[in-house]
Symmetry: C2
Subunit: 212 residues, 2 copies
DNA sequence: CAGAAATGGTTAGGACTCCTAGCATTTAGT
DNA sequence: ACTAAATGCTAGGAGTCCTAACCATTTCTG
């Protein structure tokens, strides 16, 4: 095993430690009633989709099986946080919408000092950027290995122009909002995301992975 | 909400995405039989402790309750990967040791291309370093909030000298091995870790969080 | 156009991890 | 010596995840 491998192994171990910690604690908040992470993720998705989402769509975006998502939906339904409507376009499908109580719960999730946000609160912009950058790369790698799909990352988006020559602080460019931006503004789940074609995705991945 | 908060919220969302992905997939390997993450973590700990560890110790290091750890130990025992021995020093306690089969399983975990390692395999040294750095900071933050304790990070170690004036590639110094090292060599679970006292911990945290 | 195949979603059953409580045993403190 | 704290365990419950089996509905195909 060479030095690089050793480093990666250590990094993997470090991430495992962090994951174990978060697995145990992420959905426990002292002040507010517990909100399990998958249910929170569903609420977040629905909050950005006024006309609702289909179950399969959500499952794919979260990278879980349809059956798993169905479990979470059942739990949310039991709390009366969501509603289901038949999909007008496809009688097999249902559209899931936030109910009134669900909207309240989703709004509470926007608090930046909740859950994970509390751990991040003292990171400066540079470290946030580094983290976002790594998240993009790891999700890309997971997608390449078939572990994930449907993630709406900048790195997989057709509007993304990595290192498009802007300033050192804002080296990237988003062709949707037509603005330069930096690592710290990278999104792992952007509402405006549109998947890039294979060619652009590959070129962007190359360029992004090895900054000039 | 200011820009920084927005960035942190986005970063939290990004991390959530990654966590959801890993929650679903981390313990699934196509080629080898599944090894649940907590059980893997226990094996890793035991592999570095020839004379065994006590259950409470492990629970603390992982940041889970003693009851949770007991579950995982039961599962490992069912696979005959661990042995339990009465602790000679304390008749209430038991020491947990790797059995022969457990040693084999633990050795397989060292493969850098297993599980998380596979996602990290294309990160370069700089990104690994950035990731390790963030992991240190997040674990520190979790400790400060009482979510964790017992993590053997560099940042909480009395031998750690952050930004002790070495080269740009190896700005830190470890007073145990008496070597300079860089972010990419930071450890989240170092066998030689000894907890720093409150004063040193605070000074190190300050210095580490804001690189010169 | 009728039957076959694919798709969307759910339930059933099993595994893993986590928690809080309550219990027994042992150790430590007064 | 007697209480108080600790160690570890089981019980009970929740959440997340999977595969497999099952409908209902589309869509493809001969």
């Amino acid at each position: 095993m060479n030095d690089d491998d050793r480093q990666r192994q250590q990094a993997a171990a470090g991430l495992e430690q962090l994951l174990a910690l978060l697995r145990a604690q992420s959905w426990r908040d002292d002040d507010t009633p517990a909100l399990p992470p998958t249910q929170a993720a569903v609420l977040r998705m629905l909050a950005d989709a006024p006309q609702g989402l289909r179950a399969g769509q959500m499952a794919q975006r979260l990278g879980v099986s349809a059956a798993s998502l169905s479990d979470s939906l059942k739990a949310l339904q039991a709390r009366q946080w969501i509603q289901r409507q038949p999909d007008p376009d496809d009688a097999r499908a249902t559209r899931v919408l936030l109910a009134r109580a669900g909207r309240r719960a989703a709004a509470a999730l926007r608090d930046p000092l909740r859950g994970l946000g509390r751990l991040l609160q003292h990171l400066d912009s540079r470290d946030i950027g580094a983290l976002q950058r790594v998240v993009q790369l790891l999700i890309l790698q997971a997608q390449r290995q078939g572990l994930a799909s449907g993630h709406r990352t900048c790195l997989g988006c057709r509007f993304f122009r990595p290192y498009a020559g802007g300033s050192a602080e804002k080296p990237h460019f988003c062709a949707y909002v037509e603005q330069p931006f930096g690592d710290a503004e990278l999104r792992a789940d952007c509402a405006e995301h549109e998947a890039a074609d294979a060619l652009l995705a590959e070129a962007n991945a190359q360029r992004f992975a090895q900054p000039p």
